[in-house]
Every structure is written in C-alpha cells, then in structure tokens.
C-alpha cells in the first residue's frame, strides 16, 4: 500500500542524540515527497519536526533514550508526531539574554498549521505537528 493512500503511516525511531537529527531530516524529506508537498512546505515541515526532536534531545533524554517520529497522512492533512520519553520544558532565560533553544517553539508554531503538546501518563512528551493539504 502506498503512503499516499489515506490513513497510512510511516515511522522512524532514532537515538535521542543531536547527531541523529540529520536522519530525521532525510525521513521528513521522504515523507514530504510521498505526500506531494511543495518545496516550501517540505522545508517548513523539516524545520518544525527537527525543532521538536531537538527539544526532545535537549530537554528529554539526551543519550539515554529514543525519539520516535510518526507520519500520518490523512484526509487533506499531514501530521508528524514526535514522541520522546522525557519531559518538555520551556526554554530557560536564566543563562543569558539569548537562549540557544528559545526559538524552537515559536518556529514550530509559525511554520505549522497546528501544533499540539501532550504529556503522556507514562512520562513522555508528544508533539503533534500538522499541515493542511491542498486538495
């Protein structure tokens, strides 16, 4: 069955380490191609997903866990769900005027049509990033 058929999923699971972000980008590029996103939307999705993964790596579980990225292509909607085993924390402004990761969340919100944060009862965090697809 093709990913382009409604309701089909694709999944990648990577170690929660910075050097794995490149693998996440290649995965998102593949998903974007299969969902026939235009180049601009594909780039935005890549940035948003990588920001969510970078948060998972930095605040969640660097070195000790995994991050899972699940792509769901539904009716006129593409959603990528980033799940980690740690706990999302807002950027800290204590260590200088310009936090390294302070831009991640605003970028996700600006680039996506919908961003949803969910804390799972088991202790992990899920970030769901959605784009509305043109007909």
């Amino acid at each position: 069955m093709n990913f382009a058929a409604s309701g089909v999923e694709r999944v990648i699971r990577v170690r929660a380490q910075k050097d794995q972000l490149v693998l996440v980008r290649r995965f998102v590029e593949e998903v974007a191609r299969e969902a026939s996103l235009d180049a601009e939307k594909a780039f935005d999705l890549k940035v948003a997903v990588c920001e969510a993964c970078a948060n998972a790596v930095e605040h969640g579980c660097e070195g000790s866990g995994f991050v899972e990225i699940r792509a769901l292509l539904g009716h006129r909607r593409l959603t990528l769900v980033v799940t980690d085993s740690g706990c999302f924390r807002p950027p800290s402004y204590c260590d200088g005027p310009l936090p390294k990761r302070g831009l991640g969340l605003p970028l996700m919100v600006a680039l996506m049509d919908e961003v949803v944060f969910t804390r799972s009862p088991a202790g992990g965090t899920q970030v769901s990033l959605s784009l509305a697809l043109e007909q």
């Binding site: 910075k18 972000l21 601009e40 680039l111």
Partner: protein, 121 residues
Amino acid sequence: MSDIVVENREGMPLISIRGEIDQSNAHELEQALGHTLRVGSRFVLLDVSRLTYMDSAGLSVLLAATRQLRGSGWLGVVNPNSDLYRLFELVGLTADPGFRVFEGSSALADAQAAITEVLGW
C-alpha cells in the same frame, strides 16, 4: 554535515558555509563568527549560497552576531536560498539594521562595495 571556511577577502572576513546547520554543529558556526568578532571586525560576510538547511540553533548564532555588530557594522549574508530567507524574516533578522542580505550574481562584490563605502576606502 557542513563545511565552514573562513577567509579574508581584501581585509574583510568571509565565512562560507556549505551543507546543513543544526543543533549538532551550530557551535562550529558560532566559533567561526566568534573569532572574527573577537578580532574586531565590524563587517562580516557570510556566504550561505551552498547552505541548504538551518534551524533555531544556527539562527540563534546569527541573531547573537547581529546583535553584537548592530550600531557599528553588520553581518552580511550572501545569497541565501528562499527557504533560508523566509526563516531570516520570520525571526526578525531581515528587519535588523545589524543584518544585511546581498543577492544575485554580484552579491559578494556588492557586499564588499557596501563595506568599502562605509569605511571610506
């Protein structure tokens, strides 16, 4: 994942980045920029024509450098692709007086001419 080359073009520091900048390697860009700022450069050129990806980690480095150069000079970005340009706009870099964008086939020459004009050479 990325190559960063720092050179001196007629007295102006030119940093060329190729590839992708993310959280894993943004510190390399930070080091290259930090070095040129420490030696007192007021104008720094950043050739991003072969940079295909940058996220918040790299953008934060550019914002910090822009903030530092604002008032006395600027960070001049050369030939960003349209995706990178949108990100620069989104985070407010393109509206910052400490940040300039040079585009087109004469971008590098234009940037150097702009610096020469300010310095009165």
